[in-house]
């Protein structure tokens, strides 16, 4: 395939992914008004799957546009594509286990927002990449990021909904009436439990993200930890989620407190992803991880 065709595929994928995410969110959102409909959530799921196909097409097209074929995981935009894939995959898998249909619109909005942020950093494919990026650890490192950040985004939404539901329940408001055949909405405790389950899945991958980065740094630079701002912020994110898991052991801190920590943890995920670059510019703190820009 020539460059022009690959570029066309990439552009189609770019627009298609965005459109599919938005349409999926709208279809799921419509189920608020047509609760008995089974077609709407199915259509929403179909468009979510379509967005995954489009995202894969973007990566495929970019993989072949470089001077040498490589998995395109070296720039902010390319990572954002993986990030969004992780969110959508996590949502679809979690939906098989729990009734996350009411949470689908905010989850897909988060995915769309991440995608939009990544689009702002869009760059054409670099023909060559620096030598330090020529490592299979790069691909493993990014894969662990996808498997951790994606589900954490879903946990962010479920945690947020749990906090909201705790306030509703505390105010003593009557639950929304449910029609025949419809599943009752999840309670605050159930949402809190789902948040925990998702974070419990993600946490080992978040650890693997740091570990694979350290192993890669050791082979590339001879230093497994350099107190680089990116490394430190990923460590901070890990620490906060570790603290979250410990809050589950303290009876009084389960529930609202642990949900609040889960929500705050995702803010750190976003900051580690894009905020660190901003810090480097504003505070002029140098780091080793500037290749992603």
């Amino acid at each position: 395939m020539d460059h022009a065709t690959l570029h066309s595929i990439e552009m189609l994928g770019l627009r298609g992914a965005f459109a599919a995410l938005v349409i999926s969110a709208v279809l799921y959102g419509a189920t608020y008004y047509f609760r008995a409909s089974k077609a709407l959530p199915r259509a929403g799921a179909a468009f979510a799957v379509l967005s995954l196909v489009a995202l894969v097409a973007i990566l495929f097209a970019r993989a072949f546009q470089a001077d040498e074929v490589r998995i395109p995981l070296t720039s902010l935009f390319e990572f954002s594509v993986c990030f969004v894939m992780g969110i959508v995959l996590a949502f679809l898998v979690a939906s098989l286990k729990w009734n996350l249909r009411p949470l689908a619109p905010p989850i897909l909005v988060v995915a769309t927002a991440v995608y939009w942020l990544g689009l702002r950093g869009y760059q054409e494919v670099e023909p060559t990449i620096m030598a330090a990026l020529h490592s299979y650890w790069r691909n493993i490192h990014i894969l662990t990021a996808m498997l951790s950040y994606g589900p954490l985004a879903v946990a962010f939404v479920t945690g947020l909904m749990a906090l909201r539901q705790y306030r509703v329940e505390a105010a003593g408001k009557a639950p929304v009436p449910v029609s025949d055949g419809e599943e009752p909405p999840l309670t605050a405790d159930q949402l809190d439990e789902i948040t925990y389950r998702i974070i419990a899945f993600s946490f080992p991958w978040l650890t693997a993200l740091i570990v694979t980065g350290a192993i890669w740094a050791e082979s590339a630079w001879g230093t497994w930890w350099a107190w680089d701002p990116k490394e430190v912020w990923s460590m901070i994110t890990w620490i906060i989620y570790a603290a979250y898991l410990h809050t589950r052991l303290v009876r009084k801190w389960k529930g609202m407190t642990s949900s609040a920590v889960a929500v705050g943890g995702f803010a750190l995920v976003l900051f580690t992803w894009i905020g660190v670059n901003w810090i480097a510019k504003v505070f002029k703190v140098e780091g080793l991880h500037t290749y992603g820009q």
Partner: protein, 542 residues
């Protein structure tokens, strides 16, 4: 509902099988001793959470304040950060947060917390794994995720054997405990899960210890750097080995058609090295001259030229010693593919070019300077060489890398050809006067550049490699910690813990009452139901 359409509704039940094993409380009567109380507080979960949050908060500081020693000066710090933050940053060592005393104290306290927690809870966890509590009650069994009870005509002894066989068939390990009217049976899968958190804690301690061993300087860790030109030999003093750069492969083209050239960023670059051990001169594969400066204030030198003659080339302020070299190994070093030799890692860090730039004035007088271009793009020399034109005007000259240009090869997309080009400035005494004079042409070995009556030419371009030499005796412990941590995480988070409890009670009227309960991971009700139904079916229970 079929399993596929039945959604799991997560219960908010206490996490009985997965919860962290409780600590053993003091068994002595009365108030715990001061030591016991302190020990309990040190291992408390709330302390762990507090320390983790503090650790995160303090770590942020080092990402906002440039970690540079110059800010240890209150004056410099104040100038940079203002009258409030400047002195604070200098006095609290925010310019070197991660090596500061208070940051390390926090990590020590956290390590103590992890240690105490691990010691406390591991014993309980091991007991839960090796000697679980088998005895149970009917309400406890009926409270499990799935349960059923029925009467059977068979005796308790027959039922026990049937249940044991059935559980073993499903991969459960079985324990039983008889009581006065029957037998309690416990079947488990994945019980080692409870050890997961403790293993993760141990791995964190291993990583911390590895970091201390590797960074403290107590075990001989060090970091060094050397630039070795092609054909040159570097003496790595601390490990007493010699590294020769025999070839350096950079996809770098300086001459294309004699007038223009392109220089692409190297995809990768390789240093072919030969590593030698020192032996007495004449006893090895070759000899080199080892130079040491005569001044006691200088660092020892590396050298090195492979000597062809018996006489050492004269170098001012240096003494020479002839050293024999015996080849130990040959290797290629690339980024991400270091060489480890004598427990020292040799890492491809950078590369560069060395060349002479010669300015020849109208009278034929030559002024030569040597330039090193790090990574082919950044001159390491910042001073200008000077030449004098016929009219007395002083011209400063230096080498730089320019992009594009009239002689450039056609770029494709983002690829911009680069090449060495001259920067010329008018000098006023020793200072630069005015802006640099831009030269469009690139300077190549076959293409000298003329400015006025001065001709600038470039000599032979030699490549050099920049290698890091690093010894970290703690890194193996860190990697062990990572591996142990991976095991702990898999055990703690991905191994489902399944339990089946069977309470068989003999009835006065004959036969037995059988109560079966099962848990199959958090909220996996369907799986638990299948196990219960399977056991009932195997035992012929209705």
């Amino acid at each position: 509902m079929s399993p596929r359409t039945e959604r799991q509704r997560p219960s908010a039940a206490p996490e009985a099988p997965d919860a962290e094993p409780a600590r053993e409380e003091a068994t002595t009567e009365g108030q715990p001793s001061f030591f016991q109380e302190t020990w309990n507080q040190l291992g408390a979960v709330k302390l762990a959470i507090t320390l983790l949050v503090l650790w995160a908060a303090f770590s942020v500081i080092g990402t906002l304040v440039p970690q540079e020693w110059k800010y240890s000066s209150v004056d410099i710090s104040t100038k940079q950060f203002g009258t409030f933050w400047g002195p604070l940053i200098a006095k609290l060592r925010f310019y070197n947060v991660y090596q500061s005393l208070w940051y390390r104290a926090l990590l020590i306290l956290l390590s103590l917390n992890i240690f105490v927690c691990t010691v406390d809870r591991t014993r309980t966890a091991l007991r839960r794994v090796r000697r679980p509590r088998v005895r149970t009650s009917v309400p406890a069994v009926m409270g499990m995720r799935a349960s059923a009870q029925s009467n059977a005509k068979a005796s308790s002894a027959e039922l026990v054997e049937t249940m044991r066989a059935s559980l073993r068939k499903r991969g459960y390990s079985v324990a039983r405990e008889p009581h006065e009217r029957g037998v309690d049976i416990l079947g488990r899968r994945g019980a080692v899960k409870v050890l997961g958190p403790m293993i993760v804690h141990i791995s964190i301690l291993l990583v911390f210890i590895g970091a201390i061993v590797g960074r403290s300087g107590l075990m001989g860790n060090y970091k060094d750097f050397a630039r070795i030109p092609v054909g040159g030999v570097h003496h790595e003093q601390r490990s007493d080995q010699y590294v020769e750069l025999t070839a350096f492969d950079v996809p770098f083209r300086l001459e294309a058609d004699g007038h223009s050239f392109g220089m692409t960023m190297p995809l990768d670059y390789t240093s072919d090295v030969t590593v030698y051990d020192p032996v007495p001169a004449g006893m090895g594969d070759r000899d080199v001259w080892l130079y040491r400066p005569v001044s006691i204030h200088s660092m020892e030198s590396d050298i090195v030229e492979p000597a062809e003659t018996e006489q050492a080339p004269a170098i001012p302020n240096m003494t020479a010693e002839r050293v024999g070299l015996r080849e130990r190994r040959k290797a290629s070093i690339r980024v991400n593919h270091p060489l480890v030799s004598k427990k020292v890692g040799l890492y491809q860090q950078t590369w560069g070019l060395v060349t002479d730039v010669v300015a020849t004035d109208a009278s034929g007088k030559e002024t030569k300077t040597t330039w090193m271009l790090e990574a082919g793009v950044s001159p390491l020399r910042s001073a200008f060489g000077t030449a004098t034109m016929a009219d007395g005007k002083q011209i400063g000259f230096s080498l730089d890398i320019a992009q594009g240009g009239d002689n450039a090869a056609t770029p494709t997309d983002n690829r911009v050809p680069m090449g060495p080009s001259l920067i010329l400035v008018t000098m006023d005494g020793s200072k630069q006067h005015g802006s640099p004079i831009e030269m469009d042409e690139w300077l190549t070995p076959s293409h000298p550049v003329k400015y006025g009556d001065i001709t600038f030419s470039i000599g032979e371009v030699t490549a050099y490699t920049g290698l890091d030499f690093k010894k970290d005796p703690g890194v193996w412990l860190v990697m062990v910690g990572f591996s142990v941590g991976a095991l702990g995480l898999i055990l703690g988070f991905y191994v489902p813990h399944r339990q089946v409890r069977v309470k068989i009670t003999e009835l006065k009227e004959g036969g037995s009452r059988v109560v079966i309960g099962a848990d199959a991971g958090r909220d996996n009700v369907e799986e638990a139901r299948k196990v219960v139904e399977g056991l009932r079916s195997d035992a012929g229970l209705k």
